[in-house]
């Protein structure tokens, strides 16, 4: 039954491969961005009451830098789909009609494509980048002490969390993509989605810095599972029980959002306005 989605998986993988030169540009932009954050955190810890050795909201300076670097790599490797743009194109150009008459699910097509690109990214860039980041950070003493047999368990959980994060990201992109049936403001929708994710997933700032009430609410939302939780699992800041709890919550959200996406799509498809095609 899943076999018919294999071509899309391969297409996603090939697509990602053909854009591998973008990585150079990504690297340049990212190095400057991370550097800016490092300077900011350096100033923050220097200015804090406890000085450079302070622990702010459970993070030492070294852990914070490790967190910044690892979330950056994680987001690059995990979030690689053009789902929103592709849906928008299908609507505007009218190619969506082609999918509606074929015996495959429109959602399934995107899930397969983004899984394909996750695999490529992980094999091609994920392994070298994580290895480089972990070895450098570890060598500089920026990682908490990793006790070894336990680390492999966390590494395994981290891979699962990465897969979950990718699925979650894809279903959220899909939901925002389906909103393009109602409005042509795809650019605004995309930036809304990116902001929402970067703020609530802990990419901009670990959720521990949020005020208590907001933190409580956000911790029950799906977003932390997209960035903060996987990285903290890898850094072993979460123990086994906490890690499993995070994974369960993320899993439940994936199911809930997939159901929501299904309902939304069946409503939206009656509204489709094709421009040309």
């Amino acid at each position: 039954m899943l076999k018919k989605y294999k071509p899309f998986l391969r297409a996603g993988a090939m697509d990602t491969l053909s854009y591998r030169f973008n990585i150079l540009i990504w690297a340049v932009i990212t190095v400057f961005q991370v550097a800016c954050l490092v300077f900011l955190w350096l100033a923050v810890y220097r200015s804090s009451a406890g000085g450079m050795d302070a622990e702010i909201h459970g993070f030492t300076f070294r852990e914070m830098i490790a967190y910044v670097v690892l979330t950056t790599v994680f987001n690059y490797v995990t979030f690689n789909n053009d789902t929103l743009w592709n849906i928008n194109n299908d609507i505007r150009k009218g190619t969506i009609g082609n999918y509606l008459i074929k015996p495959i699910s429109y959602r399934g097509k995107f899930a397969a494509t983004s899984f394909g690109s996750l695999l490529t990214m992980t094999l091609l860039f994920g392994i070298p980048f994580y290895a480089a980041a972990l070895l450098t950070l570890g060598g500089l003493g920026f990682l908490p002490d990793l006790s070894f047999p336990a680390f492999f368990v966390h590494l395994g959980l981290f891979l699962v969390a990465g897969l979950f994060a990718s699925l979650l990201n894809d279903v959220i992109a899909y939901i925002f993509g389906v909103f393009c049936f109602y409005t042509t403001a795809s650019w605004g929708l995309n930036s809304l989605k990116e902001t929402l994710i970067s703020f609530l997933s802990g990419t901009l700032l670990p959720l521990a810095f949020f005020p208590a009430g907001l933190r409580k609410v956000v911790s029950w939302m799906p977003f932390a599972g997209m960035s903060q939780n996987p990285v903290l699992i890898l850094m072993m800041k979460y123990d086994l029980a906490e890690s499993l709890r995070c994974l369960a919550l993320t899993g439940a959200w994936i199911v809930a959002l997939e159901l929501f996406a299904k309902l939304l799509f069946s409503h939206a498809i009656r509204k489709v306005t094709v421009q040309g095609g």
């Binding site: 932009i29 300077f39 403001a185 810095f209």
Partner: protein
């Protein structure tokens, strides 16, 4: 005079086509507003956990942040089309029409879009400045206010000039968007006081990519009277003149090497 008339006509036309999609403009505007609000909230949460950032209090850092939004917003209002030139339009062979008209191409690019989203940033920046200023006691002088105006206006001109020069490279390389992005992203550095950076970044931000010159130094002048306001005004205006002249020169030189990619 003819160009003013032409510009207004083009912009009116572009606004009319925008009004067809009122709901979309609203979505775009609110997404912009929201994304700035989130960065601000993040900064606020960080500052809550420390007494001051490199000696700057919370309202002072907020003032920096708010002021940095003004030149960025002004540039955003007028020159958004340059992003499209850099990323897409040259590559798609979509620029040919401009070369057939008896008006400079650069002018036509500017007349193509007016981006009302910039007003969102402008309002948010001004509001942030107002809130932070009311929590600060500073000796306001005529000079220090003048330098803020000069910084915002001519700073916008410097940002636009940088964008023109980077977008122009697309005429040679077909796609210069990522390069433009790299340069433009340095404006993020100017959202915080220069004091948090090591010396070489400070030098870079004042003399090479002068975001610090027209954002950080004017604010420091207002808050602490660190620099002579009139000298600083002169430096910013001079810098804007040089950057603009260079940008137009680069644009003209690159334009001459334009080859259509076909359609």
């Amino acid at each position: 005079m003819r160009y003013v008339h032409l510009y207004l006509t083009c912009i009116k036309r572009s606004m009319i086509s925008r009004l067809e999609y009122k709901k979309d403009t609203l979505v775009a505007l609110s997404s912009f507003f929201f994304s700035n609000l989130c960065s601000l909230a993040a900064l606020y949460f960080i500052l809550q956990s420390i007494p001051a950032l490199a000696g700057y209090s919370l309202p002072e850092v907020g003032f920096f942040y708010g002021f940095s939004m003004l030149p960025i917003a002004l540039d955003h209002l007028f020159s958004d089309e340059l992003w499209l030139v850099a990323y897409r339009r040259v590559k798609d062979g979509d620029m040919d029409m401009h070369f057939l008209r008896p008006v400079p191409v650069l002018f036509q690019v500017f007349a193509e879009t007016f981006q009302p989203e910039g007003f969102g940033e402008l309002i948010l920046g001004a509001a942030l400045i107002a809130v932070c200023a009311s929590n600060l006691t500073v000796a306001v002088t005529f000079g220090s206010v003048a330098v803020l105006f000069v910084g915002a206006l001519f700073g916008a001109a410097i940002i636009t000039s940088l964008k023109i020069a980077m977008a122009a490279l697309a005429f040679i390389f077909k796609r210069s968007g990522p390069l433009l992005q790299v340069i433009y992203n340095f404006s993020n550095y100017a959202k915080y006081p220069l004091a948090i950076y090591p010396d070489f970044i400070r030098v870079l931000l004042i003399f090479v990519l002068p975001f610090g010159l027209f954002i950080s130094l004017p604010v420091d002048t207002l808050l602490y009277g660190k620099h002579n306001p009139w000298l600083l005004c002169g430096a910013i205006i001079g810098c804007a003149a040089v950057f603009f002249a260079l940008a137009v020169w680069v644009w003209t030189a690159c334009e001459r090497r334009y080859e259509s990619t076909g359609s």
